[in-house]
């Protein structure tokens, strides 16, 4: 390679800065701007280090003009590099290519980077414009389980009421475990191009982790024995793990399940017999409202773009209903525990009020699910019928 005459201006004066002290940055910057550069400097080993650096980088070099004339390497690592969309939410592409791998959205990706074959790469299936806003809300609303709840609040419940609270907490922990693990399975297959959705699913998982923590802590407040876990309840939750499609899993879990769950938490917030239970339910409900909002947002968008999705959603409810037909639905222990918890005592009048409150809750859950279904484009009668098929386990 012959080093051509250096055009005027492309001169790098290094002074006494050595190649082991950062001089290569100045030279690389100059070579990025001009194909021919004259480098001058008086670092003691420049004449050793500069030719070696040029050789390693494919640049031609020869002594000239009281320094070294360098001709930029003809080899370019970035020749076929490609922008991975645009960093802004508006830069999300329809289908994120596997070749973008883990690159930040908007980064310049070197050709030949290893492909990362992540199945959830289709914008339509996962995206919601609200994801960034919901993530920001979630990040701002993270609460510290240690300080957000008055753990040392005074007051001891009658043993049976305490046992009812423990049973409800046991049920909540089981359900929140499903609400953590089901979305995380999709998160692990989500193309990171959809950064906002990835962040939101991650913080939702963190929400559920906190919920599991505070429900467990409340359950163990007066003793270590937890309540029961029924085969029917587990069958209902296990069916969520069988859904391979994000839209359907999200529909069953977030919109129908967590939508019902949200009302249950609000019920506990309003009816629990002690401050700690009311606090944990109140804080968890705040988070669950965001989870439902995201599920509704991306499914509303998805059903608008793919109307045929509605039939698959409806079929998923019917399929799950048939699969769970042999189970008993919400276990009597949980149902009765809710009544006693709301009653706060064995007093018959209190029990009547508790029972009425739980009945109202179940009706409100049904109406909320039907409203969500209407938001997703189902006709009211169809929404009502489908909601009635939802698992009696609530989630």
């Amino acid at each position: 390679m012959t080093v051509e005459r250096t055009p005027p201006g492309a001169v790098v004066e290094l002074g006494d800065l050595g190649m082991a002290e950062g001089a290569h940055l100045l030279i690389a910057r100059a070579l990025a701007a001009a194909p021919h550069v004259l480098v001058r400097g008086n670092a003691p080993t420049l004449a050793i280090d500069l030719p070696a650096w040029c050789r390693a980088h494919g640049h031609a070099i020869e002594p000239a003009g009281g320094g070294f004339a360098i001709a930029r390497s003809p080899h370019d690592r970035w020749r076929d590099a490609e922008r991975a969309g645009d960093a802004s939410p508006a830069g999300v592409v329809e289908v994120a290519p596997a070749r973008w791998g883990l690159a930040a959205r908007g980064a310049l990706v070197e050709a030949g980077a290893p492909t990362l074959d992540l199945a959830l790469a289709d914008r339509r299936a996962i995206w919601a414009d609200e994801a960034a806003r919901l993530y920001a809300q979630a990040a701002a609303a993270q609460w510290d389980p240690q300080t957000a709840i008055a753990w040392d609040a005074a007051g001891e419940l009658p043993a049976a009421v305490e046992a009812a609270v423990v049973q409800v907490m046991t049920y909540l922990i089981e359900n929140e475990t499903a609400a953590l693990l089901v979305p995380v399975r999709f998160l692990g297959r989500l193309h990171p191009h959809f950064r906002e959705v990835m962040q939101l699913l991650a913080i939702q998982a963190a929400d559920e982790a906190r919920h599991i923590e505070v429900f467990t802590r409340r359950a163990r407040r007066r003793g270590d024995a937890l309540g029961v876990s029924t085969a029917g309840g587990q069958a209902s939750l296990a069916s969520l793990f069988d859904e391979p499609e994000f839209a359907i899993a999200s529909f069953l879990l977030s919109v129908l399940g967590e939508g019902s769950f949200l009302l249950l938490l609000q019920f506990l917030r309003d009816h629990a017999p002690d401050l700690v239970t009311r606090d944990v339910a109140r804080l968890a409900a705040q988070d669950e409202a965001r989870h439902v909002a995201f599920g509704l947002a991306h499914l509303a968008r998805h059903t608008r773009e793919e109307p045929g999705l509605r039939d698959r959603l409806a079929a998923s409810i019917e399929r799950r209903h048939a699969a769970l037909a042999h189970t008993s639905g919400l276990n009597a222990e949980v149902f009765d525990a809710l009544i006693l918890l709301a009653a706060g005592s064995w007093d018959p009048a209190a029990l009547r009020a508790g029972h009425a409150a739980v009945t109202t809750l179940v009706r409100a859950m049904h109406e909320a699910r039907a409203q969500h279904l209407v938001r997703l484009g189902f006709a009211p009668a169809r929404a009502d019928a489908l909601s009635a098929l939802h698992t009696r386990n609530f989630m």
Binding site: T45, A56, S73
Partner: protein
Amino acid sequence: MSGALVLGAVAYDAKVVPIWDGFRAYFAARDLAFDYVLYTNYERQVDAQLRGEVDVAWNSPLAWIDVAARRRDAQAIAMRDTDRDLTSVVLVRDSGPIRALGDLRGKRVGVGAADSPQATLIPLVELAEAGIDVQPVRHDVLLGKHGDHIGGERDAVKALLAGDVDAACVIDGNHVAFAREGLFAPNALRAIHHTGRYDHCNMTVLGELSPQLARFRELLLAMSYDDPAVRPLLDLEGLKAWLPGRTTGYALLARAVERFGHPGRR
């Protein structure tokens, strides 16, 4: 793989396997049946080539001198761009008393492995030719691999920094590399000698090029750093482009072998 062109290479590092597996895939994709055999040292590889067991040998400069002395029809058909015009340096402590090459007379000079062209044979022959007798202190990391492993040079510099030797010999690129990895502070060491230029490895064949070898050489020279499928291989092997072989860059090393003998053939 009968009928495949067989290349010999020395396993100086575990990365040698992915490198030549990658080359094999590159050649296979271009309908050249290619396989390779790894040797633990260059002497064994040279002997194998002389017995006709490999068609082409990826040779160190010392292995080239070795085989070229035995076979007049040995030819270097290709080399890396980074194999051309290397230099070595003799380093001393900047704070020490040694300011010029002559001050090294009778002193302890840290060198690399006994068979390292860049860190031992070439610096020592230039010292000898300048009439300066020194006590070489060898740092034999992986003898038989002709200094391909960087460890010997690093050990020589460590010995210099520890005061165990009065000077250390390294290849030019390692001067900056060792400084960057924090082995010594910039300007803590002074270069008192910069050797003449020399060439490093080459692809050696014996006799006329068969059509298969000609195709091998053609495909090698066609490897482009701009090709993302090929680039990782070139990065691993440390080059931007393959160049035609040349044998004009081995005179310094030939003088060293003439003066000291081949360390692996004594």
